[in-house]
Symmetry: C2
Subunit: 417 residues, 2 copies
């Protein structure tokens, strides 16, 4: 098994569902916190568990550069390396190669690029990106794509989309031939100089709260490879990209190449039109969005999975999301404010600390500011998606934003870690 996906409630375009991967059962629509380089910045793994995160994202580009794919593989794969036994999705590396690296040279075969860390030269092809993602061992991995820049000429967008489609086929071919090499897949892949198959490291990982599909052995499981739809801001090219990607055939489909600078109305238009051409019985993943209002809106359109650095990055800059709006915690007005960040939030930060204290930590550049702010923002995002799922189950189209944050808290009881 790689994954299974079943929708459970459909209201208009929006739906709830259950995505089962080798490491977790995930209720959709789901927001996936970004753990760029094997850590959701500032948040210990047990707190991610407490927040109810069932799946997080790792960036192949970053992990490839540091600590290196081979190190992660030797350590038993990304789950074991970072001690996270719920689900992980890795992106293809394509987006970062195009947004972060310098001096890239691209042709049909692949792309040569320079590391943003030290300028060293590297090469990604669909095959090598698959190899990297198989070695990292995430539950869900992504076909290698070219993320087209915005704005771009139609001819350029078409050529890029067509190459992404050819790369998708090459990605699938390589993946099918090598998927048994996942670090947790076959016993033979554990035969490395450093034994990772036992010992205090793994034994210490708490397992309560992790819903492991019953009756399945991890060794029978494989990863799932998702295809990515490109096509820039042209509805027709998006349709063609979707159809070609679906024709190749994947257990899930992503919409890439959005949130790259275009107006939000255009993002929405492309998302909505592209979703029409994606199979309703497969998970649909919108990459790299968004703010709280956007993730609610896209869930309302029928998107099942989303990820974004916004909750974590904004937190580190002191921008906090609450049910009453955004708070810039650095402002002096909060210096003597004894209230919690968000009176409607059940997270451990809002349960314990005041705005005055959080403002002080931020103004004093204390590490704890980044830790606590990030925990709260992630809690807000995950809670928002919980409210969206609740709305859909109640039969409301979650596209209606009003009321999402004024519902009674629908968090499950706190997990006792």
């Amino acid at each position: 098994m790689s994954i299974t996906f079943q929708t459970s409630s459909v209201v208009g375009q929006s739906r709830t569902g259950r995505l089962v991967t080798p490491h977790a059962e995930i209720e959709t629509p789901v927001f996936m916190p970004v753990g760029t380089v094997g850590s959701v910045k500032g948040v210990p793994q047990d707190i991610l568990e407490e927040l109810g995160a069932q799946i997080i994202l790792g960036n192949t580009y970053h992990l490839y550069l540091r600590p290196g794919v081979e190190t992660v593989r030797q350590m038993g794969g990304l789950h074991r390396f970072m001690s996270w036994d719920r689900a992980i999705l890795t992106d293809s590396g394509g987006f970062q190669v195009f947004s972060l690296s310098e001096l890239r040279k691209l042709n049909e075969d692949g792309v040569t690029f320079r590391s943003h860390l030290d300028g060293s030269s590297h090469y990604f092809s669909p095959e090598s990106a698959m190899q990297a993602q198989i070695s990292l061992g995430a539950d869900i991995i992504m076909a290698f794509d070219e993320c087209t820049e915005y704005p771009a000429e139609l001819s350029r967008v078409r050529a890029s989309m067509e190459m992404t489609a050819r790369w998708a086929a090459r990605s699938k071919k390589y993946f099918e031939a090598h998927k048994s090499e996942v670090p947790w897949g076959e016993v033979s892949s554990f035969e490395s100089p450093v034994s990772c198959s036992a010992g205090p490291l793994w034994a210490g990982v708490p397992t309560q709260g992790v819903r492991q599909p019953k009756g399945l052995s991890l060794r029978e499981d494989t990863q799932a490879l998702f295809g990515i739809v490109q096509g820039g801001m042209d509805r027709e090219l998006r349709r063609e990209s979707a159809e070609r990607t679906v024709e190749i055939g994947f257990p899930g489909y992503a919409i890439g190449g959005l949130s790259v600078g275009e107006p939000r109305a255009l993002t929405r238009e492309i998302v909505e039109s592209t979703l029409e051409y994606l199979p309703k019985d497969k998970p649909r993943y919108l990459m790299g969005v968004g703010n709280p209002e956007e993730i609610v809106e896209y869930a309302g359109l029928g998107v099942d999975m989303m990820d974004c650095v916004q909750p974590t990055r904004a937190a580190r800059h002191g921008l906090l999301f609450t049910s009453q709006g955004r708070i810039s915690i650095k402002q002096a007005r909060y210096a003597q404010d004894p209230e919690p960040l968000d009176p409607n939030c059940g997270c451990r930060v809002c349960q314990r600390y005041s705005r005055g204290y959080l403002r002080h930590l931020f103004a004093s550049n204390e590490i704890l500011a980044q830790v606590l702010n990030t925990i709260h923002n992630l809690s807000f995002y995950l809670d928002t998606m919980r409210r969206v799922r609740h709305s859909i189950l109640l039969g409301e189209e979650s596209r209606s934003l009003s009321g999402i944050w004024s519902q009674p808290n629908v968090r499950p009881p706190r997990i006792q870690a």
Copy 2:
């Protein structure tokens, strides 16, 4: 009541005891983590609780500059401000004025200094330092002293020591006249524009595991003011300083002005000789030491309380203390090491993460590196003191270093937070 102190087991010079403050019962000898500006850098308060910290230290100089004493007072005192309901000790600010600030001008009345943050001009006297510490509201506060530089001429050390003695008398006089103004002491002190007496902030603080002296109302309690012995590296001046300070009379005594650059053998000599002149029935606090071997050694000499930035600061620089010696986690040799930092450590870091992962976090400059490293080092220090107390209770002089770290783990069962 301010504090009570009772020794429970005495072996040679070393002893165990129980120090009861308005906010905690503390087993001594105790190591106090340093929470400079209202946060033990990188560690959420609930994890400090889990580690078993019953008392932490705050720096008056830092808190005075940021967020400001009045803000902390308005927020209900440092305990409530930082949501820490176990014990706190604040230092007098003297050490930081002399080590961090610039352009200080000192006379009999007090000291004018410039902030290391923005160069602004400030003034501390024994009276204003007491006022600041009463507003912060720690359980234990320190008399305002001059920390003599090292090396120094004997005449200079004598003059400094004598002024510290006069300042101690002034500190006590001011404290006795104003101790009822502590934020948690009298109802009237809560009458501030911002009400801190109820609400979700304080209500959310978990209380399990906090041993609150039974039958005592906080409103009847006051802070305890400790005196500080100075006298540089001269045994005779130390004796004289101790005698003069004891003559003034305090519920506890500190040895200040050590670990300022002198050889370690000299530190030990001064500690040992000074302790002879301090009352055996009062807690004895050695300020600003030390590494793990030193805190064991000084506990063996009969010191009851110690604090040091070493576990927290070293952690942020990747230097980790283990039962098998020091580890510089940045080294490449740990890149694929699947073992925990310290196989004899029960902390949540050693129970969950590998050296390889911690090395990667540090090399990648991830926030989580500082968080996890600090948790481990504090755990090691607190566990070390637990082992020392255990040794003394077993009738062994804890001055003997060998064996302290090879004993079976004597940690109490993990507190379920």
